[in-house]
Symmetry: C2
Subunit: 218 residues, 2 copies
């Protein structure tokens, strides 16, 4: 589903580091100050050895006696995965899914900010939705370039997704989170992650069913 | 992110089989009748050897000369991954994300059907949204049991997600697609897939940025 050309850090490591950071932030909110690799492993469905390798990758080593210092660890992950300045994101397609994402993003990240949305519906264009200005799709190239946006979220219907993706790439976008259920034709240097909700439910349905069968024969 | 206890078929194989099926259905719509493993590999970002292994897993072997027969292949995947009867799904949390999913599901699968939705907002309860009746959250256990639903999609805010998940498990749900950005505490036999939109964007932002840096120095 993804393009991996030229990435020296594997996607899976980054996914886990981002998940650890989320878990660590929750622990911090619960007033905890230290955590052991086996605890983090349990909370992230990784192995303790994997957790330790991931932290070695970012140059962080914990104390075998007291565990990892949570604040220091969050800081190390931040330095590894975050941009120094806020990274700008755009969202194209302000239907229910688009609005859910705009709403969800509000105030949730201080390193990623959705700064412009696009839609082709004249009723949405010109409005401010969940704090974000909505422009017409035709202005993607102009606005994305002017704002210096490099990440895009596509939440348009599948019939419009390829056209939107082409406009985004022409505008200089380097990474796309695609919720339209089609495979986009894009240059290999664009990093794409496809999120197909039906595929996700189909997978869960498969394993949910197998468990029921398993129980019924045991 | 997922619980793998007791699954004899690895998740990754199922994910790929579901993706091949999606691609094959698109090829069929374009009036194509056969496909080679290297073509499918290219379209699914797998290797040709992986594609062939996945099809061996479901007992399907193609012709080295004419490729795989698309109709037969879809049929074989269907037999492997689908339930014999329609599998029922419920969705809890009919906000923007919930509505996007209800809308997206309409008429898209003949093997998976969302048959009930739940929300705690009295303004939504009792209404039919995108063709689905919305019940109060308190009735999860009663309705899910009565309908024989075994898969759930959680689209409530994170503060409500654990309570909803507990109700769903008590009602007999075996698989959960969780869009709330928290790790749910659930019995190990429940299959859970967490979809955190911010984590997804954070990952893309990381790789998008690295590519820009790479270009700027080359």
């Amino acid at each position: 589903m993804k393009n991996k050309n030229g990435n020296t850090v594997p996607e899976k490591n980054i996914e886990r580091l981002l998940l650890y950071r989320r878990i660590l932030a929750n622990l911090r909110r619960e007033k905890k100050t230290a955590v052991f690799s086996h605890q983090l492993a349990l909370m992230s469905d990784a192995s303790p050895a994997q957790v330790r390798r991931d932290f070695m990758l970012i140059g962080y080593f914990g104390s075998p006696v007291r565990g990892y210092d949570i604040d220091q660890l969050i800081q190390s992950i931040n330095e590894f995965v975050d941009a120094q300045e806020v990274q700008k994101v755009t969202l194209v397609g302000v239907g229910h899914l688009g609005r859910a994402i705009l709403n969800y993003f509000q105030g949730r990240s201080d390193k990623l900010a959705i700064t412009a949305a696009f839609d082709r519906n004249p009723e949405k264009v010109g409005r401010v939705l969940h704090g974000i200005h909505c422009y017409p799709t035709e202005r993607i190239q102009e606005i994305v370039k002017a704002e210096g946006i490099d990440v895009a979220i596509i939440t348009v219907p599948e019939s419009e997704a390829q056209d939107v993706a082409d406009r985004l790439v022409q505008a200089g976008i380097r990474g796309i989170l695609n919720y339209a259920p089609i495979k986009l034709n894009l240059p290999p240097e664009i990093f794409v992650d496809n999120r197909d909700m039906l595929l996700a439910v189909e997978k869960i349905a498969f394993f949910a069913r197998r468990r029921i069968r398993k129980e019924s024969v045991s």
